[in-house]
Symmetry: C2
Subunit: 482 residues, 2 copies
């Protein structure tokens, strides 16, 4: 007999599940009219909520009511056609359904045995994606949560490849006989690379930033020189991180030339294509991954530009054995009789807990199909190029970087104004643009210049949204009195 102490009943779940599905459908029906940015001061949401947890359970009605009452006033809507900040992303509706099912199953796919469907579906969708990106069959894949974690595993594998130094066994500190380690990335590389270096004990000095050219691409000659210089000074170079689609400008490092250097110098080449890699699904954009078949590892984030809800980071390496050597550690309670014939994904990373992330990717790839996904990414690139042309044609604006993908870097530059005034102007302009909460842009600095970033990547973003946004930007510049 069932006790009183059960879960919500299936009937109640059905009722409130339908209600929540309807809420979500309604939300997306009129999302154009919802401000993308919230109007709330720090602490404003917290103050709406009790300081202590409820003693007794509350009715589901009350909880769902608070979505509108408490949460919505503090939402920055990432899943919104007018979100142009950072990288614009999409949790598509089929992907949301996949996430719902994953939560219902609630499996931990640490071992094959702990959910064969989770392990094998992960293998399948990663192989599908590999084919879509045009990567060779020699690339073995695994899903991590974020690009930060993917890149950290790449760098850890690069370190493990220095097998003679026995870092896994003996650690890194206090060993006078071991050289200092150096890795390389461009001055445009993502901050997650620095954080990985800190975590792994490489340290900030252990990562040397290679200058980029006038299009923000790593200069291969400068890389080669830096390596030579470091070797002469008794550093041990071990890893290079190239980026396909840097965060500030989406520039593409010259991977073929960098791969040449890495092969010659026997360094692990990791490619951070977290954002840009997805574009390779578009046949005429496949060139953005040129040379990446020669990388040791690469990360591409379907939760950035492949319409998969956050989190899903696809990591590929040609050397899974090295990754496994770094992280495999099987206590008795995790041994199974199938260990010798199956892939146990827990052997390839830090995290033992593994959500069933392949489900949402499977739903998305099947619902849209390879062509459907490519068409949507192509559209984003075309929208960005059209916006770039308008900026180029406008006398009071200037483009600040090439637009290889769907992100446009620009600034206001009324004639005769100097750089130091321009920074202040553009900072004010960004604030004015975001203040109305209708669109959301972010910024970066390029060679000390304050630059606005307009990132296109939400599946709902249409030409009319960009028209409207461009109108707002021009109007705000005018209102600033110039």
């Amino acid at each position: 007999m069932k006790s009183e102490l059960q879960d919500m009943s299936p009937e109640e779940f059905r009722q409130y599940g339908h209600q929540l599905i309807d809420w979500v459908a309604e939300f997306f029906s009129h999302i154009d009219d919802i401000p993308v940015l919230p109007e709330v001061a720090p602490g404003g949401i917290r103050r709406q909520l009790p300081e202590a947890p409820p003693g007794r359970g509350e009715p589901m009605d009350a909880i769902l009511r608070d979505i509108d009452r408490v949460l919505m006033p503090g939402m920055t809507h990432w899943n919104h056609p007018k979100f142009y900040a950072y990288f614009s992303i999409t949790g598509s509706l089929p992907g949301i359904l996949g996430e719902l099912l994953a939560a219902a199953f609630n499996v931990n796919g640490m071992l094959w045995k702990t959910c064969p469907s989770a392990t094998e579906l992960e293998q399948v969708v990663l192989d599908w994606l590999r084919q879509m990106l045009g990567l060779p069959e020699t690339f073995w894949g695994i899903v991590y949560d974020t690009a930060s974690v993917s890149s950290m595993h790449a760098i850890a594998a690069a370190r493990e490849q220095l097998r003679d130094l026995q870092f896994r066994e003996k650690g890194m500190a206090g060993r006078g006989e071991v050289p200092r380690l150096r890795m390389y990335a461009s001055d445009q590389a993502h901050s997650s690379i620095d954080k990985a270096a800190i975590a792994l004990g490489i340290g900030i000095e252990g990562i040397r930033k290679i200058p980029s050219d006038d299009q923000f691409r790593m200069i291969p000659d400068a890389l080669a020189e830096a390596i030579a210089e470091d070797r002469a000074a008794d550093w041990l170079p071990f890893c290079v991180v190239a980026t396909v689609g840097t965060t500030s400008t989406t520039s593409i490092d010259p991977v073929p030339a960098i791969a040449d250097i890495c092969e010659r110098e026997k360094l692990w080449l990791h490619v951070d294509a977290a954002y840009g890699g997805s574009a390779a699904v578009v046949p005429e954009m496949r060139h953005v991954l040129d040379g990446c078949d020669r990388a040791d590892s690469i990360v591409v984030n379907p939760h950035k530009w492949l319409f998969v809800p956050i989190d899903f980071s696809a990591f590929y390496t040609r050397k899974p054995d090295v990754l496994r050597q770094a992280f495999s550690l099987v206590p008795e309670y995790l041994r199974t009789s199938e260990d010798s014939e199956v892939e146990n994904f827990m052997d390839y990373g830090i995290q033992l807990g593994r959500r069933f992330r392949a489900l949402k990717m499977w739903f998305v790839l099947r619902y849209f199909g390879q062509e459907g996904i490519a068409a949507r990414i192509r559209k984003h690139i075309q929208l960005a190029q059209a916006l770039a042309r308008r900026i180029d044609e406008h006398p009071d604006f200037e483009r600040m970087a090439p637009v290889p993908f769907s992100t446009v870097c620009f600034r206001a530059h009324p004639s005769g104004m100097k750089d130091d005034e321009l920074n202040a102007l553009n900072e004010r302009l960004l604030e004015a643009i975001n203040a109305d909460r209708e669109i959301f842009l972010s910024h970066t600095k390029l060679r000390d210049r304050f630059v606005l970033r307009f990132a296109i990547g939400n599946i709902r973003t249409e030409a009319y949204h960009i028209d409207r946004a461009w109108g707002i930007i021009q109007k705000k510049l005018k209102e600033s009195g110039l």
Copy 2:
């Protein structure tokens, strides 16, 4: 005007969303009749799926049909009342709804500005949980994905606390002036602690395993001796990991005595209470966290035993400034005007991407209430104690460890049989029990003895399930011919 290249329409989402909600409701309605383990050989699921991704999109009907056709035959059902392996967990129905909403919003809560509701709701639910666990107000909280990542951050903070050694800046390798680092954990500590040591460059030799007593608890005197010995041999002790609820037996390390040593020796004390910590929500079980108010950090996983869908790991520390010092690194493109007055959670960890995990926890805590959650955990403990008594009373079985929580370690031990025969017998017994796929148990080894683990933690598990399971276990032993 909208182009053809849109998301699934809200109408279609409504239709298939309702269909999927109904599928999930139906699944849980007859879950008792679904085998907890699948009947599939390695590769069996993969073979059902096309080798190449679909070129064109497929109808949602076909995708949903494949849940039953392709996935179900390969599912190990973690969200099942008869799952007794590893740690039994629950993605409760209110939690599943919370996850659905989080996927729909699809925010990245890296900064306060990028979703004030996500940041502030995380602060609120973590403060609620802190109160429920009886931890002092001085504990500051953050949500990570897994206990593995939480513990890695704890050990990284411990390392950062050795500020004079400047590991963040200079790294660890090749510095002869720096001592070798040592951390301590019992021989029963979880493998994630070893993996963190590997990742952080501490190395396997940098983690010294302290022997445990006959109840599998760390021996404080042995810890003190090890530290003294290491100091004399020029190691630099910096961190101790104590466990509340070890993975093999759920033993509880004597935290108060360990805290004494850590205070005296000035070592960072991290408590891994990933499983056991949740029990402190039950008033009469609060003692399991005795001494943890003196820890520097502690991890408790609501996705283990607080009915929250995977992933949700709650990490608390009394020294968030040290964690921030280790990991804060703010590139220009992530600066916001609110930075000085708000909490930006990205400053406290490796991962930049942060899902809206607080939502599901909020739904669960409100729906069940503190008392409702405590009652369900209490029930699991009572069920485990009742099972332990039956094992104790049975002439052919013996209990292999105390049962402080809801996991029972035992083995078959027909009279007169020797230890080496017993291992083979129990290994065969476990295989026979799981072979019928009706219940799922796992194992461990304790002092070289093969031991069966019976973990209770799913919200649907009732006394009649345990009766049935105990019947199966006895029957399988009989059938083995003894």
